[in-house]
């Protein structure tokens, strides 16, 4: 069987499978599971191989110990990459969810958010489709693409996120909560408010953006991220 020579020969689905096997502590057992995934066979079917043969094959696939390419494609089939600076609040919130809940496992979902259908308007401007679809329904389309085509969005987003959070640090900072929570002592009203603010972080920001009018929730999530956060910063500065 022809084994992959680099990440260019591995699709996103297989990449996720391989990375999920990193939790297996025993190195040989892990290699066997990885080999089975790559060869698309059951791990039991490898049982009678000599371990030296398996080692030799694994040695040919040293690239598995490195990260895929940090460059990513601008176009994936019918989709085009939407720059992070142009994200909407809703897209940003969903990305934050996937990034804080294992971004390797959710790499296809992340791609489904940042790669968009698009058109040119009558003025020749590039227009991205609205974020009205569920990324769960589109993620499978990105499972079949080469991992090198989209993996780079992970480090790129992390870098964007770092700069973004630094810039709007004040919006994400709350007053420090109670230093040590004593379960027997009832929380003061202030502490209860702090806990609630942490728990409802995103909802609180959007609530503020729609001026506490929930009927405008969707409109608020569709606002460009940078504009929305500039407005929130202004509201905070001016105590509005």
């Amino acid at each position: 069987m022809k084994l992959p020579q680099s990440w260019s020969d591995i699709d996103v689905y297989t990449f996720k499978d391989i990375r999920s096997l990193n939790t297996i502590e025993e190195p040989f057992a892990r290699d066997m599971e990885i080999m089975a995934v790559i060869m698309d066979v059951s791990v039991e079917s490898l049982d009678d191989y000599d371990i030296s043969d398996l080692n030799k094959e694994m040695k040919k696939m040293m690239f598995l110990n490195s990260e895929p390419s940090k460059n990513f494609k601008n176009n994936i089939e019918n989709y085009i990459f939407k720059p992070f600076e142009q994200l909407t609040c809703g897209e940003f919130i969903d990305l934050e969810y996937y990034f804080s809940n294992d971004y390797i496992k959710h790499i296809s979902h992340i791609a489904a958010i940042v790669y968009k259908k698009h058109k040119f308007d009558e003025w020749g401007n590039l227009v991205y489709e609205p974020y009205t679809y569920n990324p769960n329904n589109r993620s499978e389309e990105f499972d079949n693409v080469c991992v090198n085509d989209i993996y780079g969005i992970i480090p790129a987003y992390l870098n964007f996120r770092k700069n973004f959070l630094e810039k709007y640090m004040l919006l994400f900072e709350d007053d420090p909560g109670p230093e040590e929570e004593d379960k027997n002592t009832p929380l003061s009203k202030e502490d209860q408010e702090h806990k609630a603010a942490v728990k409802w972080g995103w909802e609180r920001l959007i609530y503020s953006l729609c001026n506490e009018d929930l009927t405008k929730f969707e409109e608020a999530t569709n606002l460009p991220l940078i504009l929305a956060f500039n407005m929130l910063s202004m509201k905070k500065d001016l105590n509005l």
């Binding site: 680099s6 990440w7 502590e25 025993e26 190195p27 040989f28 057992a29 290699d31 066997m32 490898l46 049982d47 009678d48 191989y49 000599d50 371990i51 030296s52 398996l54 080692n55 694994m58 040695k59 040293m62 690239f63 110990n65 490195s66 990260e67 895929p68 390419s69």
Partner: protein, 183 residues
Amino acid sequence: MVTILNKEIPNQLNELSVQQFEEITGILNDTSYDYIEKHLKVFEIFGINEEDFEDTSLDEFKIYVKEFNTIKTKFKIKKTIDIDGHKYIGISGKNFILSVRDTKHIEKIMKSKHKGYLSEVLSVLWKKEGLTNAEHYDTAHIKYKSKLIRDLKADIALPYLVEIGKKLQEKVKIENEAASIVE
């Protein structure tokens, strides 16, 4: 055999049982003991206690240790062994092969490093003639067989342990090479 404080104790691989060999390697690999403590503990296995060395100088003790550690036995891998009239196969082909299936079991055993793990490793390798895979890898069967193996002489066991060591070393080498790879 080697004579220590007028007592003959086994030190060659064809004199030591697998169990004694396991106990010795267990002590020698225990980093909580220093050099002297390790060998005092080893001699204890053969009934020579720490107090018996009270009148022994450090130089004399070092000579005892050196003599004990001098292994003259030449060992050769045996493809099959007999225990209680039953044949156990270690190598079915021309050369030693460590199968993926055996490696998975051995890796688990070696990870735990419990007392007697070496005989359990050998128990995975040596397959009783006529048994199915399900019977052979049954945990109770492996444990039972390892008890039998502990009474064998270490010269039968050691060549297999050396071969396993070589195979596992290949993996360590690959892991080390991989650590320096960046695509």
